[in-house]
Amino acid sequence: MRILLVEDDPDLSRQLKMALDDAGYAVDHAADGEEGHFLGETEPYDAVILDLGLPKMDGVSVLERWRRENVATPVLILTARDNWSQKVAGFDAGADDYLTKPFHTEELLARLRALVRRSAGHASPSLSCGGMRLDPRAARASVNGEPLRLTSLEYRLLHYMMMHQGRVISRTELVEHLYDQDFDRDSNTIEVFIGRVRKKIGPDRIETVRGLGYRIMALEGESGT
């Protein structure tokens, strides 16, 4: 297992490197954002531990650039800031997990193990529809390369519809696939979810078929690759 550690504090870097070595990982270290970005882009790591407060280029920018360049390596973010806007920004930039300083090394190792296991677990191929792409492995979706910010229910809705492209899907069918069996929901709430997803992917990609349900499709002029 090869890990990239991007952290600028020399003491913390030394400690983490030692702990990771002891846990059996091969560790590369970068002390600033630019070096970290370069390494993450060029080397095939199994996971990245990324500090957010970095010299030269901050962690969120590094992460955003990787995700734009389709670097899908799972990333664990380290930060001293534990407010929600930081967490939201981190996850929206494409982080897979988040750890607030100060932390116990054991906690970091446990999170890292879970991260690597999760990313290795799924192997379903990615789906696409017009400019939309959906990657079930990372549970991420994008439109024309721009990452979409979806909650899990929205993601599940989009996933199900993309697996059944071109077919009209009824509300009841969507409810059944979106919620647990013992979770009783009104099929009208589907309308709300469709509305939210439309807001995020563009209004014309999901068509309402009156009385029957919904259908997802590529926009005119988009290739269906």
């Binding site: 967490k87 100060p102 932390f103 116990h104 879970a114 229910l153």
Partner: protein, 470 residues
């Protein structure tokens, strides 16, 4: 003449506190009423004078006619034949008389009109005296005729050829016509002046309302800033108010700036401490011993202090902020996404609903903190499902209900969970439910937090928070 403050207060007790409009209108009204009353009296007097003058000119004419054509033959005085028919009808309201003066103020009639019948005009002594002093001049006076009607009369002393003692020529006419005309005029003038006065006050009121319009607009805009509907004054104001609006904007901006700077300072300090703390903790753990135990315990305590004071500083800064509003839907969406990632090993699913356009009146960061901590707590304890629902309660408040399907919390332990926050620095970070912090924050916004049983089986947290009007 200047009024002292005291007399002014005594005269207009309500002026100091009442509105500017009332103040201006009241002053204008008092002034106009005084002017109009004076004008009324003046006009009335002018009219009366003119009427009396005309009347007296008539009387004088009669006296002159009488004087010019009176003849004396053999010591006998002959009056001219009067053309005015009223002179022959008894008590007709028109009278004349030629009298001779005796010693002192005695007067005896020589010839008189038939209309006087058997009475005499008997001018008062003061008139006789005045006529004596100024012969040839007509002296006017008021009297009553035998029927008691008011008369206006003139008297003139003149000498007739053939008679050595001067004679007093008198003429009188009923003055009811002048009195009636004057009374009619008073009615008309009072009526018109009242209408004019009312019109003037209405005009002043309108003028003041329109003139002060920018002031009312300023007040509305300031209220909007306070309610969080806008973050600065945007209207164009006249030269007198523009500097005030500018200063207010500068004040709002300064306020936001100070809050922001303070927050950044405290944040920087607190966060700068976190990396060294992390290093110390890790180092201490790797070399077990008495020293490392102390270091670890103290480092943990320092961390708790940092967290606590970070929040305290933010809460203190927050109560001063103006004009902030936060879209509830946006924040819930962000938090749901983020928390699902944080708890992805559990495959937590967050189902949230919020009315379109619902806004929290306050800072985004605070709302994230409030909703985020409650939802994170639900994430920690739930099995798989979290349901979040925002609802409008009334124009000022909304609620957020967070349900989870976890083990829940027995009713008797609920108070304890919230109380722990009061002694936040004594409780280890990460322990407890983090709900105490939320409770504290919600209270800072005048809202609150209650714990209930959830229909999903776990705990239900209901937040009550202030709503920004649209």
């Amino acid at each position: 003449m200047s009024l002292t403050a005291q007399t002014r207060r005594a005269l207009f007790p309500s002026l100091g506190r009442s509105s500017l409009v009332m103040r201006l209108v009241m002053l204008a009204a008092i002034w106009s009423v005084a002017m109009l009353v004076a004008a009324g009296f003046g006009l009335n007097e002018l009219f009366r004078r003119a009427a009396v003058d005309r009347f007296e000119a008539g009387l004088e004419e009669s006296i002159k006619g009488l004087f010019a054509e009176t003849t004396v033959a053999d010591g006998q005085v002959y009056a001219p034949p009067m053309t005015d028919a009223r002179a022959f009808r008894p008590f007709s309201g028109f009278y004349w008389e030629i009298a001779q003066l005796g010693p002192g103020a005695r007067v005896s009639s020589v010839v008189k009109s038939r209309s006087l019948w058997d009475s005499n005009m008997a001018p008062p002594p003061s008139v006789i005296a005045a006529a004596r002093r100024r012969p040839g001049e007509t002296i006017f006076f008021d009297m009553v005729d035998p029927l008691g009607k008011p008369l206006h009369a003139g008297a003139q002393l003149g000498s007739i050829p053939g008679r050595t003692a001067p004679l007093l020529f008198l003429a009188a006419e009923n003055r009811e016509s002048i009195d009636a005309a004057t009374a009619r005029f008073v009615v008309i003038i009072v009526g018109s002046l009242v209408i004019l006065g009312a019109g003037l006050i209405a005009a002043v009121y309108l003028q003041v309302r329109i003139g002060l319009q920018p002031l009312f607009r300023l007040r509305r805009e300031v209220a909007q800033v306070r309610q969080g509907k806008s973050d600065r004054l945007t209207g164009a104001y006249p030269a007198e108010l523009a500097p005030l609006a500018g200063e207010l904007n500068a004040l709002v901006a300064h306020n936001q700036d100070v809050v922001e700077r303070q927050r950044t300072h405290v944040g920087n300090l607190a966060h700068a401490l976190k990396t060294p703390l992390s290093v110390m903790l890790t180092e201490a753990r790797q070399q077990p011993g008495a020293l490392s135990d102390i270091v670890e315990r103290q480092a943990e305590a320092m961390r708790a202090h940092v967290e606590h004071h970070l929040r305290r500083a933010r809460a203190a800064a927050r109560s001063q902020t103006l004009g902030e509003r936060t879209d509830v839907e946006d924040v819930l969406d962000e938090l749901a996404r983020t928390l699902e990632r944080i708890f992805q090993s559990k495959s937590v699913s967050i189902d949230w609903t919020a009315p379109d356009g619902l806004c929290f009146r306050g800072e985004k960061q605070d709302f994230q903190e409030i909703a985020g901590n409650v939802m994170e707590n639900a994430g920690k304890w739930c099995r798989r499902n979290i349901r979040v629902s925002a609802q409008e309660l009334d124009p000022q408040w909304f609620s957020i209900t967070v349900d989870d399907d976890g083990p829940g919390l027995p009713a008797e332990r609920r108070g304890e969970v919230l109380k722990r926050g009061a002694r936040l620095d004594e409780s280890a970070p990460g322990s407890g439910l983090g709900l105490a912090i939320v409770d504290e924050l919600a209270r800072a916004y005048g809202g609150g937090l209650t714990l209930e049983d959830s229909p999903l089986g776990g705990l239900r947290v209901v937040l009550r928070l202030p709503r920004a009007e649209l």
